[in-house]
């Protein structure tokens, strides 16, 4: 939990954080996703984070990453702002609902179902 690391490691730690940011940024910019897929495992592997703090810290970093990426994509003229707002604002409510339901629903079955939906969507994307 605590971050009591020797000072000599501080520089190395900053480099690790920079590397994580750079890789997550590349991933996020390329795929249009937040980058948690990259950040969470690296925080665990390189910096010894627990899964919960890795997720929380990743989310906070994603605020910046997604904002930068959206701004740069905006310069390319690719952002549909209205769709983003119509999707992003209800999604906030969705996340809060989903987090509550997590305690009441069989998340394991839903995970497997959702994995199937992801694969089906991937096939649909490929067919487009």
């Amino acid at each position: 939990m605590s971050t009591d690391r020797p000072l000599v490691l501080k520089r190395e730690r900053s480099l690790e954080l920079a590397a994580i940011g750079t890789m997550a940024g590349l991933f996020s910019g390329l795929f249009g996703v937040g980058g948690g897929t990259v950040i969470v495992p690296l925080l665990v592997l390189w910096l010894g984070y627990g899964p919960r703090e890795a997720s929380g810290t990743s989310l906070a970093a994603i605020v910046f990453i997604a904002a930068f990426a959206a701004a740069i994509q905006g310069a390319y003229g690719n952002v549909h702002v209205l769709d983003a707002v119509l999707m992003g604002v209800p999604a906030v409510a969705g996340v809060l609902i989903g987090t509550r339901l997590q305690q009441r629903l069989p998340t394991r079955a839903i995970s497997l179902l959702f994995a199937a939906v992801l694969v089906a969507s991937a096939v649909e994307l490929l067919a487009q």
Binding site: L17, I20, G21, G25, L26, G29, L30, F31, G32, G34, G35, T37, P51, E53, S55, G56, T57, S58, L59, A60, F64, I65, A66, F68, A69, A70, I72, Q73, N78, V79, H80, D83, L86, M87, V89, P90, A91, V92, A93, G94, V95, L96, I97, G98, T99, R100, Q102, Q103, L105, P106, S111, F114, A115, A116, V119, S121, A122, L125, L126, Q128
Partner: protein, 142 residues
């Protein structure tokens, strides 16, 4: 318009429920249901992620799960990678980018199944909400 809202709500609920990021749903939703091109879908997804990540961060910070200094460094130092990633995306054709994204989705699906299978204790958590229920991002945040 209604389709965008529906994608947002569904994406959000699943993100909160399963700890999978919204983007992996927003992008295909925008392509399949709204008819955006892959580049436009990715760009629009990025903007939609911002409010979700902000609210999620405040919640997680409330639970003491955010190491603010590290998050700030990762976020601010991501800018070069972000610029390169966006430039790369825009250099690729929509078809190539779509195929790459489809592969990413399959990867996320595999990861999700793996994580689910390695956590049998979370199969039916009727009353242990204190320890686990408030973590919407156990595997891949946003």
């Amino acid at each position: 318009m209604i389709a965008s809202i529906a994608i947002g709500v569904c994406g959000g609920v699943l993100a909160g429920l399963l700890g999978v990021g919204g983007g992996v749903l927003f992008v295909p939703g925008l392509v399949i249901f709204i008819g955006l091109g892959q580049h436009q879908a990715e760009a629009t997804s990025l903007l939609a992620i911002v409010p979700v990540a902000i609210v999620g961060t405040f919640k997680q910070d409330g639970y003491g799960n955010v190491r603010r200094g590290d998050a700030l460094l990762i976020g601010l130092l991501s800018i070069a990678g972000v610029a390169a990633g966006v430039a790369l995306a825009n250099a690729l054709s929509g078809t190539v980018l779509r195929i790459a994204f489809a592969l990413l989705m399959v990867f996320v699906a595999i990861q999700l199944v793996r994580n689910t299978m390695s956590r049998p204790e979370n199969a039916d958590p009727p009353q242990n909400g204190i320890s686990r229920g408030n973590d919407p991002t156990s595997a891949n945040s946003a």
